[in-house]
Subunit: 203 residues, 2 copies
């Protein structure tokens, strides 16, 4: 997604070979118009499938799930990271390790809001280690719902997240795929490169 | 907001005299169409003012800030509840006590995304004790930005939140104001009642 790559080049702060901050327009201060366009792009990519529900994890996935839900005309559900006092009913849950925050947590979704009749699209802001997304995929499996795909806004393609998801047979689409980065420099996998890589990998 | 009150009557789960769950349509599973309408309503109420930024706190305020930002054509910023590894710059912060989760936490916003040029509308899902909203108002003050008002989706008018905000001279607008509730029963302050109350209070 060209406009997204441009914004990342302009405003993204690359703190190291693995840490990219996009909090001026995506996940602290949020450019609502850009996020709406991101939702429309996910709608374009996944809209031919009968999605009944968009799924994400709090907090930074919420705006993208909202925009994608708007584009597809379906509700979204966000997994919670901690069991609240008011969340007393039965939940599906999965353990997740956060490499950013250096901590383990549980993500959970009420069993009332996910079940065998649902056809689910998972969206999130980043695909890096894939930890949260694998957890969400496990929750979808546990609920009996069908997982139609995973949509990520930014993918760090040099980390293992995509492989972990694809090994499980999950279709992954990311709107900006970073092949490598270091302070002052960032490279995206463009469509041509992507096709070349797929051909050389025999896909 | 009639349609919101109806959904609360139909789907809200009243667990006690103070605990209302709306997680089938507002803050776990989210009805994107209803939330868009909520954003438009905040746009209608506050749109005559020169709002430059919508402010909320993660996680359950995000979808409402997104919808309000869409309606007003401005970005939103969400306060974070914990300092992440990637949040290293200077922040404005305030302590908040959560009565729902029985814990204290810090909310913080990067100083890069709030300053003297900003005219801020705060939105959140619930106004009850007002703890998080007072924290956000303090952050706006510390930044030098102007606070134009607070918009809440659901107000528990029998708790002290509104008073705490109004004592600070803040204009508060809530879309559904609950005067009292108990399992199986809920009462809203309607416009007529509200006017009567204001008259008898001499406002």
């Amino acid at each position: 997604m060209k406009i997204l790559e441009e914004r990342i080049r302009q405003e993204g702060l690359i703190l190291s070979d693995t840490v990219l901050k996009v909090d001026s327009f995506l996940n602290h201060q949020v450019d609502t118009q850009l996020v709406l366009q991101i939702g429309e792009e996910f709608g374009r990519i996944f809209g031919h499938q009968p999605v009944t529900k968009v799924l994400t994890v709090e907090a930074s996935g919420i705006q993208f799930a909202m925009a994608t839900g708007i584009a597809l005309g379906v509700p979204f559900v966000y997994a919670k990271k901690k069991k609240a006092v008011t969340q007393s009913e039965e939940v599906y849950s999965a353990p997740v390790h956060s490499f950013t925050r250096h901590e383990d947590y549980q993500i959970s979704i009420s069993q009332k809001y996910l079940g065998p009749d649902d056809k689910v699209l998972i969206v999130d802001d980043f695909l890096a280690t894939g930890a949260a997304l694998v957890g969400l995929a496990d929750i979808v499996n546990a609920s009996g719902a069908e997982l139609l795909g995973v949509g990520c806004v930014i993918e760090k393609s040099f980390q293992e997240g995509r492989s972990l998801l694809e090994e499980r047979g999950i279709a992954v689409h990311s709107l900006a795929r970073i092949s490598s980065m270091s302070p002052g420099e960032i490279h995206f996998i463009n469509h041509h490169t992507e096709e070349t890589m797929k051909e050389s990998a025999g896909c």
